[in-house]
Symmetry: C2
Subunit: 306 residues, 2 copies
Amino acid sequence: MRIIFLGTSGAVPTKDRNHISIALIYEGEIILLDCGEGTQRQMVRAKISPMKVSKIFITHLHGDHFLGLFGLIQSMSFFGRESPLYIYGPKGIIRIVEIAKELSVYDIDFDLIPVEISDGFTVEEKNYKIITRLVDHSIETYSIIFEEKKGKKFDIEKAAALGLKPGPWFKALKEGKCIVYNGKLITPEMVLGEEKKGIRIVYTSDTRPTDRIANYIRDSILIHDATFDDNLRNEAYVKYHSTAKQAANVAKKYGAKYLFLIHVSSRYKDVTVLENEARNVFKNTYAAKDLMCIDIKKDNIIINYI
Amino acid sequence: MRIIFLGTSGAVPTKDRNHISIALIYEGEIILLDCGEGTQRQMVRAKISPMKVSKIFITHLHGDHFLGLFGLIQSMSFFGRESPLYIYGPKGIIRIVEIAKELSVYDIDFDLIPVEISDGFTVEEKNYKIITRLVDHSIETYSIIFEEKKGKKFDIEKAAALGLKPGPWFKALKEGKCIVYNGKLITPEMVLGEEKKGIRIVYTSDTRPTDRIANYIRDSILIHDATFDDNLRNEAYVKYHSTAKQAANVAKKYGAKYLFLIHVSSRYKDVTVLENEARNVFKNTYAAKDLMCIDIKKDNIIINYI
């Protein structure tokens, strides 16, 4: 699995930071988390195709998080896209999709499907699920949680106790099917153990530090709002954002595996100050940068730049 | 006077080319010609302030020419803009400005004034005028002509014949005022000659080669659609665009001073092929590039990059 930071800026873009968007690439599918202005150009730079985007999650309706939708949709249409595109977002997303259609002088020849999200809303796919949880920002805003499904562990000892020998029936049981073995019904529950740990990615979106997403953070890759440094924590509070230190406190308290700081204010030309204050609290911290790419291999990550 | 190419791409942006926008900077005022997605970030790169933009001309309502408006307007509002912003465009521009307001969750605290343009529409300012002329594209599209007003030449010989000696009355007459000199009424017409030549910039926008703007091209800086090379002239015709060679033919036929090629298709990684085919016809040709900056000093231009 790969994460590409397409844009990492706060409200105002900079020379080095585009408006926010994060691409999750999982088994050939691309899922976008937010789609700030200029996302389609960042995708060109990242060498990923808009045609492979299946789902876009808009965390909230501040312009810096969704104004790239219109151009991206028009380009998909220009390239002849036929497969449907799901656009998830808070109340108002249906209207945004109507506007996207109105802004295009050409008919959009693929299905554009807006879906209103709510606290606890879940998209279930075969190998992953995505959950949206309300956070603490100035307008209705959701964090996005990606969870890989790895299935349950196969308990060899339980299988042996039932007299089961290795064979194709193991695969069937792992897939949740019942089998009859030597005339005896064996159900998956009889041989499967606890859930295997998959990849978990938590993107907070814009928020004050919040415990509303606490349950999802353990062992996760946490991508947290870090608009300000901790000297500006009052400003962060008033504007419903977090400081780098606050992000690190959340990562530490709830046991994240890695922390990436995002939505950095344009005042920080050099983000070392943010990285340092966070690392004093939580060592595995990195400031996200545009076109930074994280490959996730079991428990390890490899950070590269495109 | 300075021209900055903020974006020079065709319908699809590339690593090196943003969606189209051209900034004209004249006596501290910034006028934008088109405003493709990502224009606000290009302005950050070009180190020019959105607050100094007084007028935006949208040549037509294809997304690659106007989708940067929404983010730019929101950023102006975020920065506390108070001065009005005029947005000129074809039929439909009023609706676009309504949508811009709807897309902002915050009130926009400055006047956003949409103005519908038509063939021959003119904005008259003290020192320049801007004219919009219909061209030949797939939808209603206007070229934008910027003309500096330098006033009429002062005819020293005519003044002498009237017995006028140099003095502050010269300035008054140059400014178009009547004077009484030694008891005799002297009107500006009696001492002024032909119009002095000012700077003229013609931006064709997206178009097939057309003679509708022929009258404006002499001695101008012509910024012409050059989406394709001449091997693709059939495709250019079908898509209502021009080839580099066709742009050069227009520049030569109507006596432009300089030609800049713009709206280059993303297929050209290296635009030398376009520049060469145009230069074979019209020597003073340059392919416009993002953040290319043209300073105009009398009859000369200086090309730099920001």
